[in-house]
Each structure stands twice: as C-alpha cells, then as structure tokens.
C-alpha cells in the first residue's frame, strides 16, 4: 500500500527523467546504432552548449524572469574571443575577458530590469536586438577566423578536444552543472533566487537585496552564454555573426521540460539538465531515423507540448 504510494510520488516528481528514459528506450529499439558509446558521447557533446545556456536560464526563470538575449551574447562573445585568438592573445586572457564581457552584458540587462522596473521580456528583447547589432557591426557581417597562431590550436581543444575520452565541452558542462547545483542548493544566493521567484515582495520585506540578486542572475546567464559562445567558436575555429540565432528558445524549452515553472520559485537544475538531454536525444533520434529537418521541428514542438502538459497535470493532481 505505502509502497505503491511512494512509487506514485516518485513518478510524479520525476516525470522529466522518466520521459528521457522512455524516449531513449524507444529510440534504441528502433535503431541499434543509438545506444553506442560513440553516439551517446556525440549526443552529450551536441547537448552541452544548450545545456550550459539553459542552466543560466534556469537561474533567471527561477526568479520569474526570462532572458532572450542569450543567443546574441553567445555570438558577440564568440566574435570577440575569435578576434582575440586571431591576435595571438594568451588563451586564459582571451577566455576570461570573453566571460567578463558576457557577464557584463547580462548584468546590463539585469540592471535595466532591477533598477528601472522594465519587464524582463522587454529588457532582454532589447538586449537581444542591440547585442546582435553589435555583433554585426563588430564582424561587419563576416565570419572571424581564429587565425594561424599556436594559440588557435589550443583554443580549438576547448571545443573539439577530449579529456580521458570525454569531449571537453561535456566536461565543462558537467562542471557548470555542479557549480549551479551547489549555488542553488547550498548558498544564500540560491535561496534568494528561489525566494524572489516565489514572492518578490516577501523577499524584499525579508531584507533580501532583490535588485542585486537580479543583476547577478542575469550576469550568470550572460557569462554562461559567453562560455557557450567560446565552445562553439572553438569547435568551428571561427565566429559566425549569425551564431546562436533562436538558441534562447531551446534553452527555455530545456528549462521548462525540466519542470521549472515559468512563474518562478519552483524548479531544479537537475531538471534542466534532463530537459536539455531530452532535446539532444530527440534531435539525434530524428536524425538517425532520417526525418527531414522540416518535420523535426514539428516533432520537437509536439514533444515539448506533451511533456509540459503531462507535467502540468501531475502538479495539478498532486495538490
């Protein structure tokens, strides 16, 4: 009796994970090529960029915000980083500068939201547009190659290299995940993020510096977008001015698939990771099944809808 009850609760609370497992099982029945180490590593590598962006997005959405500027920041960061590498800048300097620029761009959106009371959707829409313009001005609309210096080779490793057989982007995504998980679960900042999303007025009255936390949260999202930009640029050995277009949608989808509420205050970073993996597996599976890329988008949309409806229903019934 109690056992079946526990099982029910477990199912209710882990719909995203179960969805991922069911999806993987189904695909592996269809194609023997799916459950191979190579393919799985491939999926992880392809997922890592969206996962990194989505983890920053999780912070933002937990505060009941949204960040539409992630794709533009990714592109701008990539362009700046590529030109620094092409100018033979020491790797660590180039990487850190790029991350700081990403954080600063995020903090700028965050400040507009926190201090001028502009809605996050609008503020980051403005950010998305302006930063994309910045990218086009900076690159003059042309790709920037990372150049021929030695540093370009070591820079490539960031996106294309391996550590102990694991792609470096996957390792980076893993580290980012652990850091985010720690911050959200074990620090004051994490508590404040949830509190602001739960009820901003309550948080304010409890002495939380709401504006500061908001700026930090968008800075985190900006920095992680820049990190994703670095990885993408490194792997392609060049920065594309159109990089990251519509990436915000995949990131938001991953967060929502992971069970985080767009209303804020409720959700888990593990969910986001699973959400990103669901999208990654789905993309991979549709490719293996040779589904045309036109139909892929329809299928992806349908799965997201299904997942969100299922999750919404489980939350409604568990009340």
């Amino acid at each position: 009796m109690t056992r079946s009850f526990d099982f029910r609760t477990f199912v209710m609370e882990n719909i995203p994970l179960i969805g991922l497992i069911v999806l993987m099982a189904a695909v592996s029945l269809y194609s023997p090529n799916f459950l191979t180490v190579d393919n799985l590593l491939n999926i992880l590598r392809q997922t890592s960029i969206n996962a990194i962006i989505a983890m920053g997005m999780t912070f933002v959405i937990l505060t009941a915000g949204i960040d539409l500027s992630v794709g533009s920041i990714l592109a701008f960061a990539g362009a700046v980083c590529a030109s620094m590498i092409a100018a033979d800048t020491p790797l660590i300097v180039a990487l850190l500068t790029t991350l700081v620029i990403g954080a600063a761009l995020g903090a700028a959106s965050g400040s507009i939201i926190a201090f001028f009371g502009v809605q996050a959707f609008i503020a980051t829409l403005v950010g998305m547009t302006m930063v994309r313009g910045l990218v086009l001005v900076y690159t003059d609309g042309r790709p920037i190659s990372t150049g021929d210096f030695d540093v370009a080779n070591s820079f490539y490793e960031v996106g294309g290299g391996y550590i102990a057989g694991i792609p470096i982007p996957v390792v980076i995504a893993g580290v980012v995940f652990l850091a985010c998980w720690y911050v959200l679960n074990y620090t004051r900042l994490g508590r404040y993020v949830y509190a602001i999303g739960g009820n901003e007025q309550v948080a304010q009255l409890a002495g939380v510096n709401v504006s500061r936390v908001k700026v930090i949260v968008y800075a985190i999202s900006g920095a992680l977008s820049a990190l994703a930009g670095i990885i993408l640029t490194a792997r392609l050995e060049s920065a594309q001015p159109t990089a990251g277009l519509a990436y915000e949608l995949d990131a938001i989808a991953a967060v929502v698939l992971g069970g985080t509420s767009l209303a804020g205050g409720r959700g888990r970073i593990t969910g986001t990771l699973i959400g990103a993996l669901i999208i990654g597996v789905l993309n991979n599976a549709l490719n293996i099944m040779d589904v045309s890329s036109y139909y892929q988008m329809i299928a992806k949309g349908a799965v997201i809808l299904l997942a969100v409806v299922l999750d919404g229903r489980s939350k409604a019934t568990s009340k």
Binding site: Y186, T187, R188, L189, R191, Y192, Y194, A195, G198, N199, Q201, V202, A203, Q204, L205, A206, G207, V208, N209, G265, R266
Partner: protein, 501 residues
Amino acid sequence: MTALLELRGVDKAFGSVRVLQGVDFTVESGHVVALAGENGAGKSTLMKIITGIYRRDAGSMKYRGQEARFANARQSMDAGIAMIHQELNLLPALSVGENIFLGREPVDSTGRILWGEIDRESRHWLGQLKQNIDPRTETGKLSIAQQQMVEIARALSMNAEVIIMDEPTDSLTDVETKILFDVVDHLRAEGKGLVFISHRLGEIFQMCDDVAVLRDGAMVHQGPVSEIDEDTLIRHMVGRELSDQYPFVPAVPAAVRLKVEGLVARGVREVSFEARAGEVVGFAGLVGAGRTELGKAIYGANPATAGTIEIDGAPMRIGTPRDGVRAGIGYVTEDRKLEGLIQSHGLRRNMSLTGLFRFSGSSGHIDKRAERAEITDYINAFSIKTHGIDAVVSQLSGGNQQKVSIAKSLVPKPRILILDEPTRGVDVGAKREIYTLINELKAQGLCILLMSSDMPELLGISDRILVMSNGLLTGSFDRGEADQEAIMRCTVAGLTEGTVQ
C-alpha cells in the same frame, strides 16, 4: 420557519485524512447562523461543500427543500448561495461596477455591455450598504473595508438566498462593522439565511441567532445563541476549559530600547515615542490611521523622509528592510499571504529567509544542519502543526502560518519586534498561544510594538497603548487607565485636521 439549507451526515476526507464526519448543519430563513470552531476544525471545508467547490463523500444536502448537488461554485451561485471569502476575490484593476457584475454583465442583443445599467445597479446595491462609492472607481484603490462592502454588494445583486461570510469583520473598523451589522439585520428581515464565520465571540452573541460549533470535523453543537454562554461556547470549540483569554505579565521596568523622534513617512505625518526593552506597546487606530505605515517606516519598508530612530541609544539609518534587520528589528506583516510567507515554499525556506545570514558565513555557504536544528526548535517550541520541515506553507492553517511568520522574524535574533495584526484570521486557541508567546518574548527583554484592530486584545496584553489617527499620535494610555471609550475618542481625533498627503 423553514430550513433554507439542510445538511445531514456529511462526510469528507482528503486521502486518508477525515476532515468532516457526519456533519449536520441547518440554515433557516431569516436566521443568522454563526459557524464557530478553531482553525482546521473543518469550517472552510464545510463551506466549500455547500458552495460546490468540493464534493461530499457521503451525506445529503437539501436546498430550499430539494436535494442539491452542485458541481462547482458557479452552480451554487446561480442557485442563490453566495460566499464572501476572507481573502477578497475582487480584481483590483477592474472598476467596482465591473467587479460586481463580473461574468454576468448585462448586454443588449448585439452583445454590447450596458454600462448604464451596471452603473445604476451597482449604485443601488452599494447604496443599500450605505456606501457612497462610485462604481467607476478602480477597485484596487478602495480600502479593504470598502472592498468588503463591494463583495457584499455583489452577493446582494445576485439575489442570493443564502449568504456565507467568512470573517467579514476582520478587516473592518468598528464603524464599518456597525454598518455591516445593520445590513445583516436588514437581510435577516428579508428572510435570507446567513452564515457568519467569525473568531470574535462578542460578535456571535451580538448579532447571530444560532451558533454551530465544529470541532475536529464533527458538529459538536448547534442551537440558539440565547441558550449558550461564552464559556460554554469556548469549551465546545476547544474541547477543554480556556482560562483567561489574555494572560498578562506586567513589564519589568528597563532601559529605553527604541526612540522615535519626529518620524515622517508615507502615511505617517509626525510621530515621536519611546519603547522600553521588555515592554509591549500597543498601537490602536482605525484602518488607515497609519499604524502599518509606522511599523514599516521603523523597519525600513516604508522609508522615512524625516525624523530619527535610535536603538539602545545609537542613531540608526534605516532605509530598507535589510537595514531594519541589521538594526535588530523583526517585522511580522499583517498580510501573511502577500508579504509574509512564500505560500508555495516550505516551512524551512520561509522561516530561515530573513535570518539566513546566521547559518551562512561570508562565502554564502549555508550550514544546513544548523539551519535544520534551529527551524526544528522553533516548530517544537511554537507547537506548529505540520507534517514536516519542508511542508508547503499554504497547507497550514492560519494560526500555524502566523506562528511560522513570527518565528521567521525571530530567527535573526531581533531586539525589537513589530507585530502587525498578529492574530488576524487566527482561532481562539491559537490566539492564546500567540499571546503567551508575546509574553515570553517580552520576558526575554524584547521590545514589542503591537498594532491591532482588536481592542480587547490590545487592552489585554499591552503595557501601554498609543493611539494613532490620520498619521499622528493622538493619545497615550498606561495599562491601568486605558479604556475602550477613551481610546475610541482618540482614534478619530486626528480626522478633524487635514488629511495625510
């Protein structure tokens, strides 16, 4: 005399928890029935069954002589059962008239809304309540009391036969309460059936014909008010003797803890006073007199524009709640739901939010073990009824939520505690627990500022009472010399002068 509404043997369980067991409940035409009982006794559940929000597991319900089973609130409303919730269900951005006719706007044949009729009808029903409110006013701009009147007008406009009022007087001033009682008399004379849920026993005896008492999901008593006295009623409610509702322990003279001098803020015109350590200073006043604003100004949530605040002799700069917490001030808001607790979060997260710095160093790392230990201590010490440290706050009863709220303000170890309406929406038993708690905190040397609209409560547990009116202090009474009448005179003293900016 006919029974408008008759429930027999109603059962209701949520999962394995039985909330109602074999409840009989009758509302007669032209009668006002008080429904009394502690929080968690099942009053809300019973009302939700009557109004079709919940389905009963067993039992029968007859409405106007016919078996009734409402599938949702809409059906019960159409049938003539109106419920006025404690948390008002008005849309603040809509006009008063729009709210009164929400969902049943009169339209002409082309579907255009007849604004003239909404306006006229709204005026008519508000007029019945002696409310001179323009139906085109934005509802959010009205006082809570006025909004309550709008809710009642809405119920009247639906020609409801049975009107259920959940704690209607909780946010009303004495004057407004009087108006409400007149309205109730009027409705009674028209043969309506009224259900009146209240924690204020005085009101039950003053205006109800029958009283029904729920305890732990069972109806332990229903009968005429004239055949019962207050002590018996309380005994029915709590199932034991309640000695002395206001346990008072006089303050031990101590040093001045808080000195407020010429404080000006939104809603506060100019206020100066002192409060000592180990003292409860009560603040009386009408709704809108500036008590909440004063409390928030001291805490930093309503930044002062002039004046000084000294704590233990040291001048403090308090411009944000964060400053207030650092200065050693604890604040318990009157609005638990919107400002006090994050309803969707658990006890632990709520209780430790303000005092999180006590469990975390400069790195921000939270010592979860220390946090858990302290929160558990508070849950035990305040006997908060919950099934776990992470249970969601919205599932707790009002009294337990209030205890969580108070505990939350105590975690940072304040020197001064500001309590704004600490017993609003709290049942008799829990009220007494909160009073005992206030006494304990006072004995520990906390300086307590108590804002309350419940006059017996203020008189019962304050060492001194200050009266506010229209943003000014208009009276100061020591415990011995304070009486209700003198305080009432002061509460209107400030109204003769200009208004608050």
